[in-house]
Subunit: 370 residues, 2 copies
C-alpha cells in the first residue's frame, strides 16, 4: 500500500466590480476592449427573446464593430426556459459555431438569463469567463451578488448549478423602464425584503420615494440598486456557502415559494414573496417581535409598490398548508421560518441560528387570517 | 453612476490523498466513518452496470451496515453513457430519492464513472463532496490527478464539464484483475505515455516487468500506479489550467484521437493512443530527437503490453489525414504535435512551448509508412 498527497492549496481571487448606472453599453464596450476577458476575441451573448430586440442585438453589433467575433444565442423568455435542456441546446449551438475554450460569455437580461448563462459559462470547456448585464430590478437585487447560478428540474428549483462569479456585473437602470409595471413591482419585492431584514433607513427611503422609483427616476433607482447590493453583499460575505447567516435571505420565501407553486405560477415570484413577507410579519407579530404598527407599515409599503398583501381567493389555503408541511425541509412536523425583528432586523435565535421551527397548526392559523 | 466592489479573495485548499493498494474497501469505510464527508450521512454511490456487481454493491452494503443511508445509482457501462442526458437521469433519480444539499457522492468504477460522477457532484446542489474509487488502470493513470471531469456531446468530447477535486482517490489494484485483457492493455498505454514523456526509469521498469504487470502482480502494479500519479502530478501541479506544460500529456493523442474516431471506436482509446505514440516517435525520429533504437524500444514495449503499433488495414489513411487537418486546432494548415525527446523527455521548442507545427504533407508521409 502506498499514499500520495496532491497539494492544492492556493489563493483564489474572484473579486469583481458591480457598476450601477443609466445605459452602460459604452462602459461594457470599454471593459471588453480594455481586456476584461484577457486576449479572448470570441464572445457568446446569451439572452432571451424579450431582451434580444431591446438590448442584446445592439450590444452584439457594437462588439462586432469593435473587431470582436460576437454572436447571439437566444432562448424563449420565461422561467420555464431555465432547464438543463435549454442549457444543452445553447451549448450545442455554441459548439456548432466553433466556440471552444477560448471564448467568453456575456449574459444580457434578467435573473433567468444570468442564472442560466452563468451556469453554462461555468461548465463550457470546464469554465470560461462571463459578465452579467442585468436588465431587470430582480436581477439587480438577486443575481448581482452571491455567484449562485442554476437551472430548474422537474423535481427541484435551482438545485442543479454552480457557485460561479462573474468578471463584472452591470446594472443598467435605463433598462428598467422597458419592464412592464407588474414585472417591475415584482422585482421591488426583493428590495423591500432586503430593507425588512437589514435596513430601516432603506425601508423609510422606499416609503418616501416609492412613486419616484415606480416612475424610473434615475437617482432613486440608483440608490435602491446600490442598497440592494450592499445588503446582499454584507450577508453573503459573512457566509459564502449558505450554512448560517445566508438563510436570512429566505425571509418571506418559505410561504412565498409554496404560494408561487400552488398558484401554478399565476403569481410572479416577487408577488408570492410579498405575500410571504406579510405572512412572516404576522407570525413575528404573534411571537412578539413586530408590533401592529410595524406590520401595517410593511403592508402599506408593499401595496404602494403595487404588490399583493393577502392570499388570492383562488388559492386553496388547506392545500397551501399541506404543501408547506410536506416540504423536504420539514423535520418532526416543524418547518423553520426566518422572522423579522421590527423593521430592518432579523431575530437571532441562538449562535448562528436565524430561523425558528413553527408547527403546522400555527402556520394554518396565520394563513387563515390572510 | 456608482460602483461597488465585491471582494472575493480567499485561500482555497483542495488538497487530497491518493491511496494505492490491494482491496481498499476497508480503508474507504474507515475514512467515511472517520468523517471524510463531515457530518453527511446520505451517500450516493454512482457506478456502471459492470462495476455494480463486482464492487459497488459490496461498498453500498458495507456503508449501510455502518449506519449510513447509501443507495446505488447505476448507468449502462461504456463511453456512450458519458452524456448530459445520463447525468440528468442520475440527478433526477437522486432528487426523487430525496437527495439534496446534504449528501456526498462516491464514484466506483473506471474513467467514465469518475468523469461523470465528479461532474455530477460538482453541480448537484451547487456542489457536494465526492470521492473516487478507481477500479481500472486507466482511471488510475488518468482520472486520479488533475480534477478534470466532463461529459461528451455530439459535437465535442470532454468539453462540457468542470475542474472539480475529489476528497480522496482510492486506486484498488485488486480490481484490475477483473478487467479483461484488452481493456487492461489499453490502460497500460497511458502509463507507457507517462514513461515516454517523463521517466526513462519507469520505461525500463516497464520493459523489465511487463509480464508481471499483465499478471496483476501486486508489487509491480503498485509501483506503476505510484509512478503514474507522480508524473501526472508533477505536470499538472506546474500548470493547473492547461495553458502550457499540461499540453505534454497530449503526447500521442493528436493522431490517437483521430484514429479512435476514424475507427468508429472499434479501437479502444488506449489502443489508438499506442498507435499515436508510434506516429509521434516516427516524427521525432525524422526531426532528429529519437534514434532508430529508441523508436524500436517503444514499439517493442507497446507490443509486449498487447497494444497495436501500426494503423489497422480497415482504416482509410487518406480519411485519417483529412480528419487530422480539418480539426479545430489546425491553424494556417499546420497542426501542433508534442514530440518525445529520446526516452523519458519531451522536446521544449521555446519558453513554455512544448509542441511544434507540422504540415499535412509531413503528417501524410508518416502515416503512410505506418
Amino acid at each position: 500500500m502506498s499514499k500520495f498527497n496532491v497539494e492544492l492549496k492556493r489563493v483564489v481571487d474572484d473579486s469583481y466590480e458591480i457598476e450601477i448606472g443609466y445605459d452602460l453599453k459604452t462602459s461594457l464596450a470599454n471593459d471588453v476592449t480594455g481586456g476584461i476577458f484577457g486576449s479572448i476575441k470570441k464572445l457568446a451573448i446569451i439572452t432571451d427573446t424579450n431582451v434580444e430586440k431591446l438590448y442584446a442585438r445592439d450590444i452584439c453589433k457594437m462588439l462586432i464593430d469593435l473587431g470582436f467575433s460576437a454572436e447571439l444565442f437566444v432562448f424563449e423568455a420565461g422561467e420555464k426556459s431555465k432547464t438543463r435542456e435549454v442549457k444543452a441546446r445553447l451549448e450545442d449551438e455554441m459548439l456548432s459555431h466553433a466556440y471552444r475554450r477560448d471564448c467568453a460569455v456575456i449574459a444580457v437580461g434578467g435573473g433567468v438569463v444570468t442564472d442560466l448563462a452563468g451556469f453554462l459559462a461555468g461548465t463550457f470547456a470546464r469554465g470560461v469567463p462571463f459578465i452579467n448585464y442585468a436588465t431587470t430590478l430582480l436581477a439587480a437585487a438577486d443575481a448581482s451578488v452571491g455567484g449562485k447560478t442554476a437551472v430548474d428540474t422537474p423535481l427541484a428549483t435551482n438545485l442543479i448549478g454552480l457557485f460561479n462569479q462573474p468578471k463584472k456585473v452591470y446594472i443598467d437602470i435605463a433598462s428598467w423602464k422597458t419592464l412592464d409595471k407588474r414585472q417591475f413591482s415584482s422585482g421591488l419585492s426583493e428590495t423591500i425584503k432586503h430593507a425588512c431584514l437589514a435596513s430601516s433607513e432603506l425601508f423609510e427611503y422606499l416609503e418616501n420615494n416609492i412613486n419616484k422609483i415606480l416612475d424610473n427616476d434615475k437617482e432613486s433607482c440608483t440608490h435602491i440598486a446600490n442598497e440592494n447590493c450592499k445588503i446582499k453583499y454584507s450577508v453573503v460575505m459573512k457566509d459564502e456557502r449558505e450554512s448560517g447567516l445566508r438563510e436570512v435571505l429566505n425571509l418571506g420565501h418559505t410561504v412565498g415559494r409554496a404560494i408561487e407553486t400552488v398558484s401554478e405560477y399565476k403569481l410572479l415570484h416577487g408577488e408570492a414573496v410579498a405575500i410571504g413577507l406579510v405572512a412572516q410579519a404576522r407570525l413575528s407579530n404573534r411571537l412578539g417581535y413586530m408590533n401592529d404598527g410595524e406590520v401595517e407599515r410593511l403592508i402599506r409599503l408593499l401595496e404602494s409598490a403595487g404588490l399583493p398583501v393577502s392570499i388570492p381567493d383562488y388559492i386553496d389555503r388547506d392545500l397551501l398548508v399541506k404543501k408547506l408541511y410536506t416540504d423536504k425541509k420539514v423535520r418532526n412536523g416543524q418547518l423553520r421560518f426566518v422572522i423579522q425583528n421590527g423593521i430592518g432586523d432579523i431575530v437571532c435565535f441562538g449562535d448562528n441560528v436565524y430561523s425558528t421551527p413553527i408547527d403546522e397548526c400555527t402556520a394554518k392559523e396565520i394563513i387563515d387570517i390572510m
